[in-house]
Amino acid sequence: MKNNQLLTRRKAMITGLASMGGLLLPGCSKKLPPTYGNILRMGDTLTYAAHRALLPGQSLAREYSHKDITSFPAIGTTNPGDPNKKPKPNETYRRLQSGAFADWRLSIEGLVTRPGSYSLAELKRFPSRTQITRHTCEEGWSAIGEWTGVPLSRVLDAAGMLPTARFISYYSYDDWVDSIDLFDALHPQTLLAYGMNGRDLPVPHGAPVRLRVETQLGYKSMKYLQRIVVGDKFDDGGDKGSIQNGWSWYAGI
């Protein structure tokens, strides 16, 4: 009797672990990022799938009050147009910066009925959202800042996103590519932010416009936005994307 019970329990454990393994099977679903057979990427995918399956939809990240705003380090690229930047400065960005970003335009391409581009002034004409949120860096530090911008969902609406869309890829002037799924892209706190702490977004923090993805770690909130592409397939961004640089694509943990 006792032995039978133990066997059943053991079987239950094994079945549980095996079904965990089932989630890890690479390439079986277009909804999941590729793992390239890498066991660490399988773990990332398991976490992503578990979050999307188990957590309630689009809860808001905590918002703070003005007195909670803290000092804020600027890391990584702090000016893509810096003449001393390695390997080389981005001349286009330098030109745009010297013109106070009046000629800067964010292009929206891919699966939209009205592809095109938006100037800073045009983005500012959309209804804006201001939020004081915590930026959480993968390194372990955090900082609280106030962000003002247009929710990405409004701009995607204006561009006429097609129903086949699944992922939003974004490109930066300092040569990074990343993407988020529609769940995060349409999240009410996901902003194209042009203001920080009540002023124009400073250059070290991503001027003129950076992304804010409050449900993921800081590195998903890309600075110096250049281009947004709506796609129906997962695009890892090649050697400019997180996965091929050894980082998890999903950073909601």
Partner: protein, 256 residues
């Protein structure tokens, strides 16, 4: 002098049941991986704080000298955000820090799955089979200063009972196992979840009960420290009580 009388407990030991042995080893490997990758993650930013936010431009609770990032000063001139003199500042980092978090974090979270899922199965099994009640939790009558003092004294003299290959456990042994199973490991898991931006958006209380993201990170550090100390004592006790017998018992369930 080191020879201790054979206790009668040895003859009527139940041995380690199969689910205890399987979950013990899965969690062991997972914990070692978590401790290692956790240390690598901590090296990227060896400063700990209290509250929601903390970074190189704000004061730390303490800083650990475990990486070249310790007290690094690669920062450009600070710029205030607001007019008032106490304004928070922004500064650019110019220093290439040590950061192996790409694989470090992914390994940590992969290993965490092997702690959380088998750990949950273990907790349910322990509860429903009566394993916790019968073997793990000290009986109320046992928790007297005299009995605790006695057991403490014999441990301090390193007079460790030779391996029985399973329950019943000694008093301090029960306290240590209960502390790990019911307090330290659940606290490490909960503070870990309290650092997740997506999970705390869905369940904000997780972050609030620990006083914020950085507090959760600091508590996570201390919980891990306690667990590593437990592991060291645990291994010493295994060696003192008969390493081969103990390993056989936890692996095959039999002591012979």
């Amino acid at each position: 002098m080191t020879e201790l009388p054979q206790t009668p407990v040895q003859t009527n030991t139940t041995g380690h049941t199969r689910w205890v042995r399987i979950s013990h080893w899965i969690v062991s490997v997972s914990f070692l991986t978590l401790a290692f990758s956790g240390f690598v993650i901590l090296m990227a930013h060896p400063r700990l704080y209290w509250g929601e936010a903390g970074n190189n431009l704000t004061p730390a609770l303490f800083e650990l000298p475990i990486s070249r990032n310790h007290q690094h000063s690669g920062w450009e001139k600070a710029v205030p955000f607001f007019q008032d003199p106490a304004s928070p500042i922004s500064a650019n980092r110019t220093y290439q820090i040590f950061n192996q978090n790409g694989w470090g974090r992914s390994l940590h979270f992969l290993a965490a799955w092997f702690l959380v899922v088998p750990g949950a199965v273990y907790l349910l099994a322990g509860l429903f089979t009566g394993h916790f009640r019968r073997h793990l939790v000290p009986r109320p009558g046992e928790l007297t200063p005299r009995l605790i003092g006695q057991d403490l004294k014999s441990h301090l003299r390193l007079r460790i009972r030779s391996a029985t290959g399973g329950p019943h456990y000694g008093l301090l042994q029960k306290c240590a196992y209960s502390g790990v199973v019911f307090l330290a490991l659940p606290l490490a898991v909960a503070t870990g979840l309290a650092m997740s931006p997506t999970i705390t958006a869905a369940y904000p209380f997780l972050s609030r009960i620990f006083g914020g993201f950085q507090s959760a990170r600091t508590i996570h550090f201390f919980a891990s420290l306690v667990l590593v100390l437990f592991l060291l004592v645990h291994v010493v006790m295994i060696i003192k009580s008969g390493f081969r017998r103990q390993m056989r018992a936890m692996t095959f369930g039999k002591i012979t």
